[in-house]
Symmetry: C2
Subunit: 228 residues, 2 copies
DNA sequence: ACCTGAACACCGTTCAAGT
DNA sequence: ACCTGAACACCGTTCAAGT
């Protein structure tokens, strides 16, 4: 979005009036750079070179700001991923879009899991509900399937994001998973646990996420009325 | 000095030496009473009538304490729910046990969604993996199915807990959902959205959670080798 | 109306000093 | 060895005062 032409220019047009939009934009930038713990009201004021109280003129609370920032990331993603004819394809594309967005902005994962009816979560609900309906589900079954899918997507994304947060690069991740698998296998005599531990370092979160979406889709289809 | 002449001895053997166990116990009690924001190191020291630094002698960090508290709640639940012969039944019992525990201790929901490989999450992984295997899934398919189920359970529980946190009693919840459904239906012309909004106030989170588990189970069975 | 920045009431964590 | 509690370096939020 912002194209930095050089290191000389630090603050972008600070003469502009403050607005909710500009504050949310700054928050997203800070969250991407410094993580969730880096988002402080003081950091936002420094970024926008303004006073503390000015922020509260446009934003109710820090939680409000976090939710708005999450919405700012999720909204465009849902818009981009929409528009598939095949409903199952549409669901996969949406789910993957959300996953990738959270992979790129881990703090979004934690935020979406925190509030059930924040704007970003409602948007996800709506965008997944439409293709689910076209899959032949409606009424209470649609509500159940929609809740299950949304909860799975948010849960998986949150877990992945939490993992990404504590092992940022692939090498660290690999090392961490191997250590964990080793410990796991050592602590437990169960052969099943050992087998699962062995698979831990090699697996790809994104593929596994998609496999979960497919399991879910298979379940919905099989319950909706069997196969044709 | 503090003179506790109060009603017949409220604190249990405060002469006992401090220990990790006693600190975790106190944390659980505080979290249940005052919620996540009520858990401060100062509150713990007050509860145990000790100094700040003493806590850090037995616990590495506040996050460590939170994770241990979650483990203290989840562990017994998993032990109680185990031991069903029928694997599908076992999975339902475990999932429901976790859901109910999080319903009773909402802070656990937020905590489990935060760290992917904390002890409590590993325990959940193991306890769900065994019946899944007995359902006829193994190898990579087992890892995929296990991840999907765990992520769904944790995601749904986190969302439910977040909802429970902001609308504690049934009346508040009802009112909140009705307001939300109204707003939702007003903002959106889509008939599908309106239909879903109408179902919102009447639904039961626990039943919907179980419906999701069943969708998932149907998906696993249908992918594992079709129906007999 | 919008903004400033000092002040308030908190945090988690550390550490010299006690027993 | 275990514990104390003052001190440190932070927080989010408010509010009288400025423009």
């Amino acid at each position: 979005m912002s194209f930095m032409t050089g290191p000389a220019q630090r603050s972008p047009r600070r003469s502009d009036a403050l607005s909710r939009e500009r504050i949310v934009e700054a928050a997203i930038q800070i969250l991407d750079t410094a993580g969730e713990s880096g988002l402080t009201v003081r950091a936002v004021t420094a970024h926008l070179s303004t006073g503390r109280g000015a922020i509260y003129h446009h934003v109710a609370t820090k939680d409000d700001l976090l939710a708005a920032a999450a919405g700012g990331v999720v909204g465009p993603v849902l818009a981009d991923a929409a528009g598939h004819d095949d409903p199952a394809r549409a669901i996969r594309a949406l789910a993957l879009g959300i996953f990738d967005a959270i992979d790129a902005h881990p703090w979004v994962g934690a935020q979406l899991a925190r509030e059930p009816f924040q704007p970003a979560v409602l948007q996800i609900w709506k965008s997944l509900g439409v293709p689910l309906h076209r899959l032949g589900v409606s009424g209470t079954a649609l509500a159940d399937a929609g809740a299950a899918l949304v909860n799975y997507v948010l849960g998986a994304a949150a877990q992945h994001a939490a993992g990404a947060r504590q092992a940022p690069d692939d090498a660290a991740r690999q090392q961490y998973l191997e250590a964990l698998a080793g410990q796991w296998a050592r602590d437990d005599a169960d052969s099943l646990v050992r087998e699962s531990a062995g698979l831990l370092p090699g697996h790809d979160d994104r593929e596994q996420f998609l496999a979960g979406v497919d399991i879910f889709l298979a379940g919905v289809v099989s319950r909706a009325g069997g196969r044709p």
